[in-house]
């Protein structure tokens, strides 16, 4: 079980801020493929990976990063703080 978090318009498109996901996906990209296969709203949120960022256990990461040992995955658009 892995915690998956969504922020900003990713959260709005998917319709929830976080969920627990049962997965054996070896990488972030594989997890995204699994999520997209579930429902249209996931496919809509992940349609353009270039406009998305991912954090693994609260550290910025990349889509090809392995998920082994990861407890928390977060998807969000590029940050706009400051």
């Amino acid at each position: 079980m892995i915690d998956v978090l969504y922020f900003a318009w990713v959260r709005e498109r998917i319709g929830l801020p976080r969920e627990k996901v049962q997965t054996d996906a070896p990488t972030v990209a594989a997890l995204i493929t699994e999520l997209c296969a579930r429902e249209e709203r996931y496919a809509a949120a992940f349609a353009d990976l270039a406009s998305l960022r991912v954090a693994l256990d609260q550290e910025l990461s990349s889509f090809d990063a392995p998920l082994a040992g990861v407890r928390e995955v977060a998807f969000f658009p590029p940050m706009t703080g400051g």
Partner: protein
């Protein structure tokens, strides 16, 4: 080093004074304050979302890097989240160093990194709806100078 992620407003002047009073031996103090632009009286509001936990970690990592690189006497970062009205302060940074170039460079570095590497997302709320602020290519490009 004081880092705060908070919903409450802060007082720029009180923060600047407390920061300056806390440093000894520093000849230069720089502050930057970001304010919700109140364009031509169209009092726009802003909703700031963040990623509790990661936000604090990212801000601490960026600030520690700035302190080490520019030998800062001290640094301060305050960033708000939640609903902000036009004219309200969004965030501030302060840096203290022996010489002005270090204080200026460190403050600009903090701003560039907070803007693109700390997990905050701004939504502008106008008269005709709300819209997520898009990240600018120039903000990402600004990181390459450091």
């Amino acid at each position: 080093m004081r880092l705060s992620v908070q919903a409450e407003p802060f007082d720029l002047g009180a923060e600047a004074n407390a920061f300056a009073a806390g440093v000894t031996g520093a000849g230069a103090v720089v502050t930057f304050t970001g304010i919700v632009r109140d364009n031509a009286g169209t009092l726009s509001a802003m909703e700031i979302e963040h990623y509790p936990g990661m936000t604090e970690r990212a801000i601490a990592a960026i600030t520690e890097q700035a302190i080490a690189r520019w030998s800062l006497a001290d640094a301060l970062v305050i960033h708000r989240y939640g609903r902000l009205a036009g004219g309200e302060p969004i965030m501030m940074v302060a840096t203290a160093a022996s010489h002005r170039a270090d204080a200026f460079d460190a403050a600009e570095f903090l701003m560039d990194y907070l803007k693109s590497r700390a997990p905050f997302w701004k939504k502008e709320i106008g008269a005709d709806g709300a819209e997520w602020v898009a990240a600018k290519d120039t903000d990402e490009a600004a990181l390459t100078r450091w």
